[in-house]
Structures are given as C-alpha cells and as structure tokens.
C-alpha cells in the first residue's frame, strides 16, 4: 500500500508538468495580451514594450515556461499583471481559503445527509420513504446551481428577508491558521445559502448512488449468511453491507470534486464571494497569465490529489482491487 501511494505520488510529477505545459501554451496562444488596455484606453506601443520587457514577455515562450516552473518550484507564482500591487501568492492567500471553506462545507453536507438518506431509501425499498427520497434526489440533480442560487436568494433574502443575499461572512484576515473561519453567527448566516446551493446536487448524487449500490449488496449471499447467523440488522447493514455499498460512493468523489470546483465559479459570482473561482474566470479574460497559471495549478493539484485519495480509499475498502 505504501509503495502504491509513493508510486502514485511520483506519477503526479509528469501529470502536473504536462498540465502546466499545456495550460501555459494554451494561455499564450490566446489572441490578445495582458497590456492591451488600461481601463478603457489603449496603452502606447512603447509602454507595452517596456511592460513586456519588465515581465519577460519578450522572451521566447520556452524560456518563459522554464522560468515559471523554476519560480513555481520555489513557491513563487509571480506577480499579477492585472492587480498590479498583488502577487499571485497574495491573491491565493486571500481567496483560496474562502473557496476551500465553501467546498468542504458543501461536501460535508452532502456526505452527512446523502449517505443516510440513501441508506434509508434502500432499507425501505419500494415504500413511501423510498419513493419520497428518490423523488427528492432526482429533483436535486435536476436543479443546477445557476437556478437554485437565484431561487434561494429570492425566497430567503428578498421575500422573507431571513438571510443576507450576498457576500461571505468572514474575511481572510479573520481566518485562524490562514483557513479556519470564525464560526460565529455572521459566518453561518452568510454560508447557509451558498453551501446549500453547492451541496444540493452533491447530496442527491450521493443519496442515489448509496441507495442503488446498497440495494445490490443487500441481495448478496453473504448478507443472507450474516442474517442467518443471527446478527442484529444494525450490524448487518451498518458493517457488512455498508463496507461494500460505499465503494461506488467513494469512486464518484473524484468527479464530485470537479463539480465542486466548477460550482464555486458560479456560486462565487452569484453571491459576490471573493473566492478563487471568480479570479480564475477574470484572469482568463484579462490575459493575466500568472494568475491563470497559479489558479489552474491549484485546481489541478486539488483534483489530482482528490483522485489519489479516492483510489487509496478504494483499495483499502476492497482488498480484491489490486494495483500492480
């Protein structure tokens, strides 16, 4: 197992290099440059030339890439071309924790509600509780973020006035250890709606998957054996069935991480949250190359690491799955 993890970790290196190289090339291939405009006005060509010289944009692309890799390896992701007073590291420090909180809370919500809901549905198969939860789940996967967010804002902020319509309840300066928010009333009031919007579809996916796989597992012979030897239903389902039923849920977590990442783009925009997703979209449109590279690198690392955790959990839960 340890060898497998080490081997997988080593295999990240070429993947991350390939991703960064492709993204670097694609970003540079985009027509237009970072210094086309200053506000609404264009910048004189001589000034652009000076700026490009300052940021080494006049170098050949391969040399720019190598310089970027060299700096990135030492933890320096370069300056932002658009926010002239900020470096990419500053930007990430200010925005990544917020996006991280949003994603973790949503995933937590999805696991805490989705798995029990799916389990109950499977145990009450073809009864009212099953039909009700399956119906709710199918509604959940059918309502996208861009619909659910305005709907909740309209109901809870505009009509009822219970919750704030936008913003995040804490700022990066308040975070303990750089990423733990103060868990006060203000934080939760602001967090409820974005987390609910991002978490709903995830919850529904997990609930449906748990139900389906548990139903299949419950029909296996070894479950009958467990029941026949007189085990309590609680441990038959909770221990014997769950251990196998949870495997498909684990495997879907990889794609779910990708869904969370893209979900944050939309949710941060609609709720006006100063997170990383917004900067990613803006940076592409501004041709802010270092920010594009920095944010994408973070996303890639998150997704690749998430896949590794999924694979490890997978191998741990099902010893039949062997990795050479």
């Amino acid at each position: 197992m340890v060898r497998y993890i080490i081997r997988r970790l080593l295999s990240f290196i070429p993947v991350l290099f390939a991703i960064s190289l492709v993204i670097f090339m694609m970003a540079r291939a985009l027509p237009g440059g970072p210094f086309d405009f200053a506000g609404d006005r264009t910048i004189p060509a001589s000034v652009v030339a000076n700026l490009e010289q300052k940021y080494h944009l006049d170098w050949p692309v391969w040399r720019q890439y190598l310089a970027w890799v060299w700096d990135a390896l030492r933890g320096d992701l370069g300056p932002s071309f658009y926010y002239r007073s900020l470096t990419v590291n500053d930007l990430l420090k200010q925005t990544l924790p917020t996006s991280f909180q949003l994603g973790v809370l949503s995933l937590g919500l999805a696991l805490i509600i989705g798995i029990p809901a799916g389990t109950i549905a499977a145990l009450k198969h073809n009864k009212a509780a099953d039909h009700a939860s399956s119906f709710v789940a199918i509604m959940g996967v059918s309502i996208p973020n861009i619909v659910l967010a305005p709907l909740l804002i309209y109901i809870f902020a505009v009509l009822l006035g219970w919750l704030p319509a936008a913003r995040w309840g804490a700022d990066y300066t308040d975070y303990a250890l750089g990423f733990i928010p103060p868990l006060n009333r203000q934080f939760w009031e602001h967090a409820i709606m974005p987390v609910l919007v991002l978490g709903t579809a995830l919850t529904a996916v997990i609930a449906r998957l748990t139900r389906g796989s548990l139903l299949q597992v419950l029909r296996e012979d070894y479950i009958r054996t467990a029941r026949a030897k007189g085990l309590r239903e609680k441990s038959v389902v909770g221990i014997h069935a769950m251990k196998n039923a949870i495997i498909p849920v684990i495997t879907i977590l990889g794609p779910l991480f990708a869904a969370i990442v893209t979900g944050t783009f939309v949710i941060e925009q609609i709720f006006g949250i100063n997170g990383m997703g917004q900067h990613f979209i803006d940076s592409i449109n501004n041709r802010d190359y270092p920010v594009v590279m920095g944010t994408l690198l973070v996303y890639s690392v998150i997704l690749v690491v998430a896949n590794l955790f999924v694979d490890i959990a997978y191998a741990w839960l099902d010893p039949r799955i062997r990795y050479e």
């Binding site: 993947v15 390939a18 991703i19 492709v22 993204i23 694609m26 970003a27 291939a29 985009l30 027509p31 237009g32 198969h125 073809n126 199918i138 509604m139 996967v141 059918s142 309502i143 996208p144 973020n145 861009i146 619909v147 967010a149 305005p150 709907l151 804002i153 309209y154 505009v158 139903l215 299949q216 029909r219 990708a258 990442v261 893209t262 783009f265 939309v266 925009q269 609609i270 979209i281 592409i284 449109n285 994408l296 996303y299 890639s300 997704l303 690749v304 896949n307």
Partner: protein, 345 residues
C-alpha cells in the same frame, strides 16, 4: 444432449421452440416495462413536445425547401427582435400597438417566450450532438481496445487513464476561451476561418459541440471496452469465427449490436450533464454568442435584477429544470426497463 432422441424428447424440444418463438423479445419486453412507468412516459411525451416546439420555433426547416426568408412559426417573435418602446415588463403585457407578450419582455425589450423557445434549440442540440459525438468516439475506441490484443488494449486504456487524471473541465474552459478569442479576432484564414464560419452560423454552438463532445468520451470508452471484453468470449463470436468471419464482420455484425444497448442507455443518462455544462459555460460567458439565446445566458444576464424582475430569471430557469427533469425521469425509466438486474425488484 443428443439432437435426435425419443419422440417425447423431440416433442418437448418442439414445444420449447414454440414457446421461444411466441415469447416476447427482450426489446419488446423492456419497452412494455418502460410504458408501465408513467413518469417516464410523461417525460418522453414532454420531451417530444419540447423538440417539436424548438424545431418549429421558426420555419427554418421549411424554408430550406421553399427558399423563402425564415419567419417565426411557433415563437411569436424572433429571438433578437427588440421592442424599443418597452423593457422589463412582467408576464401578460399588452401594448397599444397590439403586441402581446405572454411571459413579458426582458431588459432590452425582447419577448421572453420567444427567447425561451429558441433557447431550447441550444440545449437540445448540445444534448443530441454531444451525446452522439461522445457515443461514437467512446464506443469505437472501446471496441477497438477491447477487441485488440491485450498489449494494445493495455496501451489504449492507459491513455484513457492518463486523460482521466487531467482536470477536463478546466480544459473545456480554456478551449472555449481559445475558440471564442479566435472567433472574435475574425482574422483567421484557411481551416480556422472555415470552422469560425461554421461556428458563427451555429450562433457559437459549434465549438461547444467540439469541446463538450471531444472531452466526454472517456467513460463511454471504458464501458464499451468492458462490454466488448465479455462479448468476445461468447459462443456466438466463436461460432462466427469458426465459419471464417473476418474481424471486421465480427465486430460490426456480432459485437456492436450486442453492446450498443447499454452504451446508449448510459449516454442517455449523461445528457443532463451536457445540458448543465452548456448552461454553465454560457453563464460564465463562454457559451453561445449573444444574441443567440441560451437558458444559461438568459439567467446570467438577468440574475442581478432578481429583486425587481424575478420573471426574467425564473422563466429560463424553469425551462432548464423541466427539460433536465424530463431527461432524468426518462433515463431512469430506460435504465430500469433495460437493466434486468433491477427489474421486478
């Protein structure tokens, strides 16, 4: 068992064949099962209705034959037609000039109903084209990989695994940015110019087809390969080989028809994902080109005015949810009907 036997044995054999002949085929059986699922039937009918309304939103199809200018047919107005006298009006707006807007007008004075109907074209086109592209590429790749020697199979699947490790959504976004910037620059010549021309003719959908379809075949390839691996061990493949059928014939006449069913069902279940992806890309400004209406663009243009003009957000939002809901109910019904493991449970 001996082929010829006692008269009783022959008799029994004959009755079995008789029963087998009169028995329903698996396909008819599955279809019967599907028809029993009322929600799936209602969803199917609703989708047929949506397809009909979207196709005949204007008479573009008919005008191909008549050569006349395209006029709105079911949609009351063209999607970009602006009424300069009003904007941001709620449902059931009637003007002095006799214009009637069932679902109101948006912030530029365009009919919401017409834009929502035309928006259906985008979502359905994406659903159909992306699903077809991903199905064709995925099944072809999967069959070739599964049917080839283990060495080639291993190599081809390693490539799929490698691509799986890539954050594809980020590549779709970058690809779209690239296509958009290319299309906007308008200076491209040769092949690029040709594609940009096609893209403009489709209102910016062509590059979406490419980006979504090209990058979503990986799961399909894995499924098709798995199905192929089990199908090529079956007796009918041995039988075909023993009478000297070529590989090409075995793949196209024996394996493909046997594995295509589950693949199509899986692809149907993926359609909501494609519709969401289009809505998401359009929402962040990387989808279709304005003024082509897409439900994602309509929501992104109006959600800031939510407090004052909620109908401008909720009309396209409702359309998006209803269509995806219908695809989900239909897909679930199909899966239950065609997957014998879940049947009758």
């Amino acid at each position: 068992m001996a082929v010829a036997g006692t008269p009783e044995e022959l008799d029994r054999l004959r009755t079995t064949q008789e029963v087998a002949r009169r028995g329903r085929s698996p396909l008819a059986d599955a279809f019967r099962q599907l028809l029993k699922n009322r929600l799936a039937v209602a969803s199917g009918l609703f989708l047929i209705f949506v397809v009909f309304v979207s196709v005949f939103a204007d008479d573009a199809l008919i005008s191909i034959f008549t050569g006349k200018e395209v006029e709105p047919l079911i949609a009351p107005y063209h999607f970009a037609e602006v009424n300069f006298r009003l904007h941001d009006q709620g449902p059931l707006t009637r003007t002095e000039e006799g214009d009637f807007y069932l679902l109101g007008v948006d912030y530029l004075g365009r009919d919401m109903l017409s834009r929502t109907i035309y928006g259906g074209r985008v979502s359905l086109s994406i659903a159909i084209v992306a699903a077809t592209v991903s199905l064709v590429i995925g099944v072809a790749y999967g069959i070739i990989s599964g049917y080839s020697s283990p060495r080639v199979d291993n190599l081809m699947m390693r490539f799929v695994d490698f691509l799986y490790g890539f954050p594809l959504i980020i590549f779709i976004i970058l690809l779209q940015v690239y296509f958009k910037a290319l299309a906007r620059s308008g200076s491209a010549e040769g092949i690029a110019g040709f594609f940009i021309g096609i893209d403009n003719a489709f209102g910016g959908m062509f590059f979406l087809f490419i980006a979504i379809g090209l990058l979503n075949w990986l799961a399909m390839a894995r499924i098709a390969r798995g199905q192929t691996l089990s199908a090529k061990e079956k007796e009918y493949v041995d039988a075909a080989k023993s009478v000297g059928a070529s590989d090409r014939r075995i793949v196209s006449k024996h394996i493909l028809p046997n594995i295509i069913g589950p693949c199509i069902i899986y692809e149907t279940l993926q359609i909501p994902t494609y519709i969401f992806l289009e809505a998401f890309l359009s929402f962040i400004g990387l989808g279709v080109n304005p003024p082509t209406p897409s439900w994602g663009i309509m929501i992104s243009e109006t959600y800031r005015g939510l407090r004052t003009f909620p109908h401008e957000v909720f009309v396209p939002a409702a359309a998006l949810v209803l269509v995806v809901l219908a695809f989900n109910f239909l897909g679930d019904g199909l899966r239950d009907a065609f997957d014998p493991r879940l049947r009758g449970s």
